[in-house]
């Protein structure tokens, strides 16, 4: 059993980074995630593990610091909240286009614009469809508890390095600010220079020793045929992720007639909602996507052939519902896919979700 603590989600992100052997953090303050950098600065990991922490002059600078450090094979991360992630999107596109591994955390708040500081899930499209310019994808993990905030830091780095691709933890202000019991991971040492060269030496810009060609990190290619080949290579990588990496949790889906699909904070609400609905005799289950990209399409498609309908519950105007509809369509068993959501930083209540379920499927 690892060390048990009562911690805020944002604090856990910092602690997990130190413990998983992260080499560096670059960030810029923004509510509701400023505790990530504050915790790191208070912990002074440079004294303990050698991890570097730096407050950048902007999100734009922070993500480009990530680019530079990631390009040397180091395990680096940043965190921000919705408007800050918009600012980082150019850099994230460059990171994806240069095939660099790194971790980006979005502790979402309501938008658009300056929006609100309350929790939201309205950056789903931005996270799973790319976000910046060009055809690229992030590996997107959606924790629903403080424990998963801890667990997904290491997992995100593992996937990022496996695919040489940026990974994102897409969470929100509720989980970031929430305090829960968490079992912390044991300390893993940072990679030594030799380990880094062994794992990343074929591409990382570590300084060119005699006898090897220069390693060049760039997303630029003026020859269209080569650029198309690069894009095809990226797409192959994304197809492999779609094949191998979808993760989800299914609750009470075995006998379900209806399935609610929800992730992160809204999935916690829906967990209570399915209990309430079942108490009323409605056979309903919950499918919680853990990876938002790659989306658990197969699980949705399989369910669609044995249930009567899906309800997508989101803290947005309805974004993930499009991926559910696509999954149902690709599965071939067409069932209704309905939506319930709250906007602007409001978390739906379990009662509202049950009511939405009844109104969509059980009336008339």
């Amino acid at each position: 059993m690892g060390e048990l603590r009562l911690m805020k989600g944002n604090e856990v992100l910092a602690e997990a980074a130190i413990r998983c052997g992260c080499d560096g953090y670059f960030g810029y303050p923004i509510t509701p995630q400023s505790e990530v950098m504050e915790t790191l600065m208070a912990r002074q990991p440079w004294e303990e593990t050698g991890m570097v922490v730096l407050q950048a002059e902007s999100e734009v600078a922070a993500i480009n610091m990530i680019y530079g450090a990631a390009a040397t094979g180091k395990k680096v991360m940043t965190s921000s909240s919705s408007p800050g992630i918009s600012l980082m999107s150019e850099g994230i596109s460059y990171i994806a286009g240069s095939e660099l591994p790194c971790l980006i955390i979005n502790v979402q708040r309501g938008g658009p614009g300056l929006g609100t500081i309350q929790p939201s899930q309205a950056d789903y499209f931005q996270a799973v469809k790319g976000g910046g310019h060009g055809d690229y994808k992030l590996i997107v993990l959606a924790p629903s508890s403080v424990q998963e905030m801890n667990d997904f830091v290491d997992l995100a780095f593992e996937l990022a390095f496996k695919y040489r691709n940026p990974a994102m933890i897409l969470t929100d202000g509720a989980i970031g600010q929430m305090m829960e019991k968490v079992e912390l991971a044991d300390f893993k040492p940072r990679w030594t220079n030799d380990e880094l060269i062994e794992k990343c030496g074929s591409w990382a810009t570590t300084g060119k020793p005699a006898g090897r060609k220069p390693n060049i990190i760039t997303s630029l290619e003026m020859d269209s045929a080569k650029m198309e080949a690069n894009n095809k290579r990226f797409q192959e990588k994304y197809r492999k992720m779609e094949e191998e990496e979808p993760r989800y949790e299914a609750l009470m889906c075995d006998d379900a007639e209806y399935v609610i699909v929800a992730f992160g904070t809204s999935s916690r609400v829906c967990q209570k909602a399915i209990e309430l609905a079942r108490a009323k005799g409605v056979k309903v289950g919950l499918l919680r996507p853990i990876t938002l990209y790659p989306f658990p399409k197969k699980a949705i498609a399989e369910l669609s052939c044995r249930i009567k309908g899906f309800l997508s519950v989101e803290m947005s105007a309805g974004q993930m519902i499009e991926d559910i509809k696509l999954s149902v369509f690709e599965g071939g068993c067409i069932v209704p896919v309905k939506f319930f959501g709250r906007l602007g930083g409001i978390i739906p209540s379990p009662g509202e979700v049950v009511k939405a379920l009844e109104e969509n499927f059980l009336k008339g």
Binding site: D23, V52, A56, N64, M65, K74, T205, K208, A210
Partner: protein, 261 residues
């Protein structure tokens, strides 16, 4: 004495640096970038720091710098090279990191990044090519374009009422305590090239000695953008750029007196 008797290995006095990759650069005839690339490759070679050096290329004409010098390179987004260099050097303090930027990149879109990297005193070299114009995109006005200078976006000449004033960003940077060496050089004559090379060498030595940011501006020509011959552009630069962008050291932490030049 016959020419063949002169052209012998024992008589060789000047040749291409081993670090300069054997390819024809994409730059226009007479472009200053080529000279500065050559200086960089000579300095890195002579200092024996090839294995430790990481270059950060900008967006602009020098975007392909990584094709020309035989070291590890990263290509940064427009204006972000100082942030990228910060990421590299903070996690790899034993590496020697330089950012290579033009005036659109450094003095316009990347103003925040250069000011803050220099203000933090990041232990990097910054090479700043100032030719007063956006070369790669076809000769538009840069923040450094002189008053009255004709560009494709100031066809009647830069008008301060409309476009504001040319920016002396190197003078701003010299004020920042994080910088240890700030100088303005040029490369249009052999003497200027030799002097510029000494400055760039000093900047790299400062990074080895962990003295903070060393910033070398090279007042340069863009004869294609200026619509002049290469030789004519050099003369125009001497007559018009040098009075506004005077050459010389603005700051040198090795010397007690700091001249404002």
């Amino acid at each position: 004495m016959d020419i063949k008797d002169i052209i012998k290995p024992e008589n060789l006095v000047y040749k291409k640096s081993e670090l300069l990759i054997d390819t024809i650069m994409h730059y226009c005839p007479g472009c200053s970038h080529g000279v500065v690339h050559k200086i960089l490759s000579e300095v890195i070679d002579e200092m024996g720091i090839q294995e430790k050096t990481i270059g950060i290329a900008p967006v602009g004409c020098a975007v392909f710098a990584y094709n020309y010098i035989d070291i590890d390179w990263q290509e940064a987004a427009h204006g972000r090279a100082p942030a990228v260099a910060t990421g590299v050097v903070r996690l790899n303090p034993d590496n020697i990191v330089f950012a290579y930027q033009g005036d659109g990149d450094l003095a316009s879109i990347g103003t925040a990044e250069i000011i803050h990297a220099c203000n933090r005193g990041e232990n990097i070299v910054v090479i700043f090519i100032n030719n007063g114009i956006y070369g790669m995109t076809g000769g538009q006005m840069a923040p450094t374009t002189l008053v009255g200078q004709v560009t494709s976006t100031t066809p009647a000449g830069r008008n301060v009422d409309l476009n504001g004033y040319p920016m002396k960003i190197t003078e701003l940077i010299a004020q920042l305590p994080g910088t240890s060496y700030v100088t303005r050089q040029s490369v249009q004559t052999a003497a200027a090239v030799r002097k510029c090379k000494r400055s760039i060498k000093k900047a790299f030595q400062n990074v080895i000695d962990k003295k903070g940011t060393s910033f070398v501006e090279v007042v340069s020509t863009c004869n294609a953008g200026w619509k002049m011959t290469p030789v004519g552009a050099n003369k125009w630069m001497e007559e018009n750029m040098f009075p506004f962008y005077p050459l010389g050291d603005m700051k040198d932490s090795d010397k007690k007196e700091v001249s404002n030049n």
